[in-house]
Symmetry: C2
Subunit: 233 residues, 2 copies
C-alpha cells in the first residue's frame, strides 16, 4: 500500500496515535496546528485535516476552532452493538435456527405503550409473540407491538414462515431507534417459553423504532438464561 511516496492520511493518523500511546503527547496535550503538522509530514493540510477529523470522530482528540486540537483526557470509549437479525445470530454459532409464531392479534394499544409512543389509546396495533430456537432449544422470546398505521402492509404479511423481525427489517427501513437493556426475573410466559423456573434472571432487550418521527414498532426480546451479549472495541 501507499508506496507512492506521498504521505497518506492514514500515515498521519497512525503517527499521531503512536505519539499519544507512547506518551510523547500525553493526555491533554495541545497538538501542533494543521499547518504545522502538514509541514512536518510533508503533505497538504487537507490530509492532516482528514486524519485528525477521523481521530476526533473516534473520540481520541478534541478539536475546537481557535483553541486547536487536544488529546482527549477522558476518551469516551464507545462499544458498538450490532443489531442483527436473530436468525443470523443463531446461525453464526453453527446452530440450527427455528422460528415459531405463538400468538397474533389485532388489538387496541396497551395504555403504557400508548403513552410511551405518544399515540392515542384508541390506536390499533398488531400484537405478536414469537419464539426463536437454536438447535431446538429456546433462544429468544420475542414480544412485539406493531403500529399498523405505519406499516399497513403487515396485515397481509405471512408471519408464520418468516418472523416479524426479518419481515420488518426487509420491508420497512427505520430511521431512529432507542434501546434498553436490563435484567428481569422470568414471569409465567417467559418461564414457559424459555423452559426455566419462574424468577430465573434473564437478559432483556427492548427496542423502539421510528420512521421519521412516526413510531413503527416496540419489541421486547428476552434471551434464554445464561445468555451473554458481547462486543469489543
Amino acid at each position: 500500500m501507499h508506496q507512492s511516496g506521498k504521505t497518506s492520511f492514514q500515515d498521519v493518523r497512525d503517527e499521531v496515535i503512536h505519539r499519544i500511546q507512547s506518551g510523547i503527547w500525553p493526555q491533554g496535550t495541545l497538538l501542533p496546528t494543521e499547518v504545522e503538522l502538514a509541514e512536518e509530514f510533508g503533505c497538504a493540510r487537507a490530509t492532516v485535516n482528514r486524519a485528525l477529523r477521523e481521530l476526533a470522530e473516534n473520540g481520541v482528540v478534541d478539536r475546537k476552532r481557535k483553541s486547536g486540537t487536544r488529546v482527549n483526557t477522558a476518551p469516551v470509549k464507545q462499544a458498538k452493538i450490532e443489531i442483527a437479525i436473530v436468525r443470523h445470530s443463531v446461525e453464526e454459532q453453527n446452530a440450527i435456527y427455528r422460528y415459531a409464531l405463538v400468538h397474533k392479534e389485532i388489538t387496541a394499544i396497551p395504555p403504557w405503550l400508548a403513552a410511551q409512543l405518544d399515540l392515542p389509546i384508541t390506536h390499533k396495533v398488531m400484537y405478536l409473540k414469537c419464539m426463536h430456537y437454536a438447535d431446538n432449544r429456546p433462544y429468544q422470546f420475542e414480544e412485539r407491538w406493531v403500529n399498523i398505521d405505519a406499516v399497513p402492509t403487515i396485515l397481509d404479511a405471512d408471519l408464520v414462515e418468516t418472523g416479524p423481525n426479518e419481515w420488518l427489517l426487509s420491508v420497512v427501513p427505520f430511521t431512529d431507534a432507542q434501546i434498553n437493556f436490563c435484567a428481569v426475573g422470568a414471569d409465567a410466559d417467559l418461564s414457559e417459553f424459555l423452559s426455566t423456573p419462574t424468577g430465573t434472571p434473564v437478559f432483556q432487550l427492548e427496542r423502539t423504532t421510528w420512521l421519521q418521527n412516526k413510531p413503527v414498532t416496540f419489541v421486547r426480546m428476552t434471551y434464554h438464561p445464561g445468555y451473554r451479549m458481547s462486543t469489543s472495541y
Copy 2:
C-alpha cells in the same frame, strides 16, 4: 448555516438519504457515479465523495471500485454504548455520587482469570471490591482484578479517595476492550452490597481491557436491581 451558496457535502448526503427513504432509490439501486452526481448538484467530485463515504461508513450504501455505489440491502444497524466513568453516569442523573473501597489485596491470579487473560497462574494481581452510590443508595458493585505487571504504579495509588475506575482511565490509556452483558441472580456479596435479596435478577457488565496485547484489567460491574442501560441510534 451553509448559506454561502455552495453545495455542502451535508446537502448531498441529506439529499441521497432522502431519495433512499422516499423510495426514489430503492434497496439495491445503483447510484449515479460521483462525477454525474457532482454535475447534478453543481459541486466538486470531492464533495460528493465525502458525502457518499460517510454514508458508506454508516452502512447506508455499499461502494466498490468499478462497480459503483449501491443502496445497501441489509443495512447493518449499530448501537453505540458509551463506556462512561461511573461518577459521570450518576451525576448526569443529578444524584450525589459516593464511592467506597471495600476490599483490596495483592494475590495470585484466580485460575479462571489466568486462563482467560493468558497469564501464568503464578501471576500477581491486585484484587479490588468497590461500591458506587447514587444519593446514598447502592448504584453499582465493582469487582476488579488489575495486572500489576501492566500497571505497576497502582501499588502506590491511593484508591480510597478515587476509585480504580477513574484512576486507571486517567493513567493507563487502553487500546482494546472486550465487553459482555448478562443477567445473573444476586449472590451473597451482591445481595449484601446492593441491599437486595439473594437471587434477585441484576444486570452485569464485564470488561477486559488490553494495552497493546498486554492485559490490563478485568472488571465485573453489577448494577442495582431495576437498572436499565439505554442507547439510541
